[in-house]
Subunit: 112 residues, 2 copies
DNA sequence: CCAACATTTCAACAACTATTCAATTGTCTG
DNA sequence: CAGACAATTGAATAGTTGTTGAAATGTTGG
């Protein structure tokens, strides 16, 4: 299931759009985006995320709660630590597509 | 061409992540997301966007400015009106991927 | 040039949100 | 059980941002 050129989203379905916007907004914070990227490779504990991002466990935990509630990440306890990882592969696709968008070499024709 | 499972993003490249987050944050507002979706199909004037979304031209214009600055949309003047459309197809892919993520019916495969 | 239309800009307010620090809960070990 | 470690929670603050209405800019046609 990849992105095709058939975005058929019922524009009157406010629920879907609202849900979509919620997810995009979650990825729209640099700290949260770094957290997601850190969790993409392998399950990682809260402490190590905080360590890698040079942030506080409290802040990381706050963001993790939101990302988990939105089903972007999932959590799994291992002893004293709790490991977070991506819930599925879609987020990776979304990010890759967005990276591709950035990579688009400024196709400037004649903008008015 | 499409999203593969090889998100190779240099985590120390704050510029890239910041740019990514900016784009996600732009898509994270329901009004702005609706505007983007409206512009995906064909070039459309500011007035008609406002009409379809039942919003004010002022508000729409405000969002269009941000979306254009972020190279999500492009503008083209035709007489008195200015038509906006998607700058490339990547945004459509991003949205489709995100829709796929939402549609994922809690697919707990080999979750331990 | 003037009037009508389309869009943009400006200022200002209300609402939201990321961050911090302290306190709490949960878990393992000695 | 007590202590240390790990993570969460709560409240409070500072900064950001979406929205609004009025004014201004730009464009076309009479």
């Amino acid at each position: 299931m990849k992105a095709e050129r058939n975005t058929i989203i019922p524009l009157n379905a406010d629920d879907t759009i609202g849900h979509l916007a919620d997810l995009f907004r979650l990825m729209g914070d640099p700290t949260r985006l770094r957290i997601v990227l850190t969790c993409l490779d392998e399950p990682i504990s809260v402490g190590e995320i905080a360590m890698r991002l040079d942030s506080s466990p409290s802040l990381v935990s706050h963001h993790l709660r939101l990302l988990k509630a939105a089903r972007v990440l999932r959590s799994e306890r291992r002893g004293k630590q709790i490991f977070y990882s991506a819930l599925d592969e879609h987020i990776r696709c979304v990010i890759d597509d967005m990276v591709a968008h950035i990579g688009e070499p400024l196709d400037i024709e004649d903008a008015d």
